[in-house]
């Protein structure tokens, strides 16, 4: 996790809030470093994490996580992390019998109805177990990312319904958190993506937006992260007083994308 981002959000793993939906959004840059940040943040906060990883393999997240101070293999072995590796298990959909619905069942259907099997998987993964597992703080759902579901043929309304049900179960019933990444198509005029992004923005408590710099490409500074609060939820004056509007300039070495060199984040609060 990145301490500067924690400082900007005024939070630490010990004081993580509960019941929140955080929307990560990137435009003209790669916002996956935010996903790595929140994954390591919640693992360090001793939360039970269900990670629906549709973009990269487990080893990729593991290598980056080790640079950030967490071991995904250890977390998975002791039951803290439930990892759905989309790249590997998508092939299983075609080679198993159809009795049990697979979480990625929508890949098999011509008319993708809804994401209910995926929601059932999440609910099963995060439901509170017997007392031996009561050591975990709160359940967290992490999705990387939702835009790829649109590319796979799921409608924007179906994805919104999935997040709605996850919010009802994870945030409201289990008092946990949800963090999800959506790409902003910007000028690409992707209507489904816009509906998904705007619909999620209305439901989110916190929106973190990673943008490329307006002036173009720069070697050391890759972009900026803007933070927006959903004011519909923000009526607590304590939060209002402590949150100035600020932007972080973010430089991320290519290591995060190539998963070889390592993750080194330079941040300068402007």
């Amino acid at each position: 996790m990145f301490p500067e981002l924690n400082h900007l959000l005024n939070t630490t793993p010990d004081r993580a809030e509960q019941g929140k939906l955080t929307l990560l959004c990137d435009a003209k840059t790669d916002g996956s470093f935010l996903v790595h940040h929140f994954l390591s943040f919640y693992l360090k906060a001793n939360c039970k994490v269900c990670f629906v990883a549709l973009i990269q393999s487990f080893s990729h997240y593991n290598i980056v996580g080790q640079k950030l101070g967490v071991s995904l293999t250890t977390a998975r072995e002791r039951g803290q992390l439930v990892f759905l590796e989309g790249l590997k298990s998508s092939v299983d959909v075609f080679f198993r019998s159809q009795e049990e619905p697979h979480p990625l069942q929508f890949l098999r259907e011509a008319n993708t109805g809804n994401l209910q099997p995926l929601f059932e998987f999440v609910r099963e993964a995060l439901k509170p177990g017997d007392n031996a597992e009561a050591a975990w703080r709160c359940p967290v759902l992490l999705v990387d990312d939702l835009s790829v579901l649109l590319s796979l043929g799921v409608g924007a309304v179906a994805v919104l319904d999935f997040i709605h049900y996850c919010r009802a179960t994870v945030c409201c019933e289990l008092k946990g958190n949800i963090v999800t990444l959506v790409h902003d198509s910007g000028d690409a005029e992707d209507e489904e993506n816009d509906v998904l992004l705007n619909g999620l923005s209305h439901q989110s408590h916190l929106i973190l937006r990673a943008e490329g710099l307006a002036t173009g490409f720069c070697r050391d500074v890759h972009g900026q992260v803007c933070r927006g609060w959903d004011l519909g939820v923000l009526l607590d004056s304590r939060l209002l007083a402590s949150v100035p509007d600020s932007r972080l300039h973010v430089g991320v070495l290519l290591g995060l994308r190539a998963c070889l060199v390592g993750a080194y984040l330079q941040m300068e609060v402007v």
Partner: protein, 303 residues
Amino acid sequence: MPRPFHPEGAGQLSVTPSESVRRGAERELEMLESLLALGGLVLLRDSVEWEGRSLLKALIKKSAAWLVYHDLFRDPLNWSKTGEALPEGPLGALRAMCRRTNPGPVTIALDSLSWLLLHLPCTTLCQTLHALSHQDSCPGNSTPVEPVHVLGLLHEELHGPGPVGALSSLAQAEVTLSGAMGQASAHILYRRPRQRPTHQTQWFSILPDFSLDLQRGPPLELQRHADPHTPPVDPTTQLTFNLHLSKEEKEAKDSLTLPFQFSSEKQQALLRPGPSQATSRIFYEPDAYDDLDQEDPDDDLDV
């Protein structure tokens, strides 16, 4: 939302604090009551930047003495199949409300119409809303029925202009939320029957107890145009290298003719090659083995 900033300064009519509070309270009552006075649909159009849920809650608090909460959030699509969810979902719940029995005033708040519009056909939703908001004309009912208020929250960016326009035409009052400089404003369009539509713009903020705090106008920073309280900084003053030209350097620069600039002197020089011009000529003595073909001097045409 930030605390409101009350301007006090020259040019303002001085009012005592209690008077201004009373006037503010009266205007608050006017705004909310005028929205709730007409029966029918009040449409709140919000966006991601300027949310409308707080205003919806303020209107609910104003209008309802007794609140019944229908929980359609937990399982609207009946995925859990436990039997707790309504069989027909939110549409069935709305249709059930169309057939009400008590004649008292009813306010129905919908959070949000966007969810309904994404899941139901626009025509079905419009017909249901119309039936919901026009329940006072009941044939065969002797006692006059109080009008039904329907408050609907609509997220503008999620829908195309067609459905939004259809819902807007059903509404008796339409509130569009926007703002500037951190201050929210509501642009209200009233469609009273047999009258011309009227517009009103109101700057406001919602307090934590969901009461309305009306502002007189946009915040002062917006009204004050680019205030040049600091002179523009000259960037050439603090440099380690010299950007200025001396007089001789400036003259030399101005008198320089650029090599590829086509001036009239150059044109004359080209048109009349003088004797001092060194033109290049080629002297060629063909020997016995050369076969000069004028049509193919390089001998590479494959004809």
